[in-house]
């Protein structure tokens, strides 16, 4: 149990600035995605094992709460992807690029690129949500 405490306290109190923040974001987004992915594999498996249950799951996904969750999920996938590319590229092809200064810069760029990729998707999904659930935009 002390392992748990030590690690969690370390996660919060470590002062590594951008590197630390991107580590935390990578973990949080990754855990979020794998949680949804597990549920998603099972709900898609319902189309074969129990089609009625599949439509029940889809109904839940169409609710406003899950719609908002979906918008955040898309951010998680974009951020985890861009940051994952950064890690994979540096680790595999340019390990000498793990300098603190350049890492700070690339961590900021990563967040920026993820946000730029996410915003149009987020707005479009919000539009779909308002249209189907609240009758906006002629829905």
């Amino acid at each position: 149990m002390s392992d748990l405490r030590t690690t969690l306290v370390g996660y919060v109190t470590y002062r590594g600035r951008e590197g630390h923040w991107s580590f935390l974001l990578h973990r949080i987004t990754g855990l979020g995605v794998v949680l949804f992915l597990t549920i998603h594999i099972i709900d898609i498996a319902f189309v074969y094992f129990n089609p009625t249950l599949f439509m029940k799951a889809i109904e839940i996904y169409r609710s406003t709460l899950f719609g908002i969750g979906e918008i955040f999920l898309v951010f998680c996938v974009f951020y985890h992807g861009v940051n994952g590319l950064r890690i994979a590229y540096l680790d595999l092809f340019k390990p000498q690029g793990w300098h603190i200064e350049s890492q700070r810069r690339s961590a900021r760029w990563t967040l920026g690129i993820a946000l730029i990729l996410w915003l149009p998707s987020a707005l479009w999904m919000l539009r779909n949500l308002l249209m189907h659930n609240y009758g906006f935009f002629g829905g």
Partner: protein
């Protein structure tokens, strides 16, 4: 400061399971950028959950291309995700025995969910046509 001579020495270390897992996380990242982003942008943004139903899945899986696409997604993404979960858990659990147990549990978890997903991919939409 005295001058020091630097000598570089290449060391070959036999790759073990952890090396393979480490590489897997990184190489699968490159494969998943088009796979996962493509899937997500198409299904969550362009099509949207309000237009997805049994008919839609049946239509999509009528094409072998999309079934292969989804098989690749399942294979790459879920293995990447479960190994990521294992890495996170290894930060919290340090005892060898406990790690061994976690490894086995996660392996079984990965295997069972992958088999369930794979069965659906092969079986397809389990309803006679036309869909009601």
């Amino acid at each position: 400061m005295a001058t020091a001579t630097q000598t570089a020495r290449r060391v070959r270390i036999k790759p073990n399971y952890e090396t393979i897992a480490w590489k897997w996380m990184r190489y699968s990242a490159f494969a998943m950028i088009p796979l996962v982003w493509g899937h997500m942008i198409l299904q969550d943004v362009i099509v949207g959950v309000h237009r997805i139903d049994l008919d839609y899945v049946a239509m999509r899986w009528a094409s072998l291309f999309w079934r292969i696409y989804d098989t690749l997604l399942l294979g790459f993404a879920f293995a990447h995700g479960v190994n990521g979960l294992r890495q996170v858990l290894n930060d919290f659990i340090h005892a060898d025995r406990a790690r061994k147990i976690i490894n086995w549990l996660l392996f079984l978890f990965w295997l069972i969910i992958t088999l369930i997903g794979g069965a659906a991919l092969i079986g397809g939409v389990n309803q006679p046509f036309p869909l009601s």
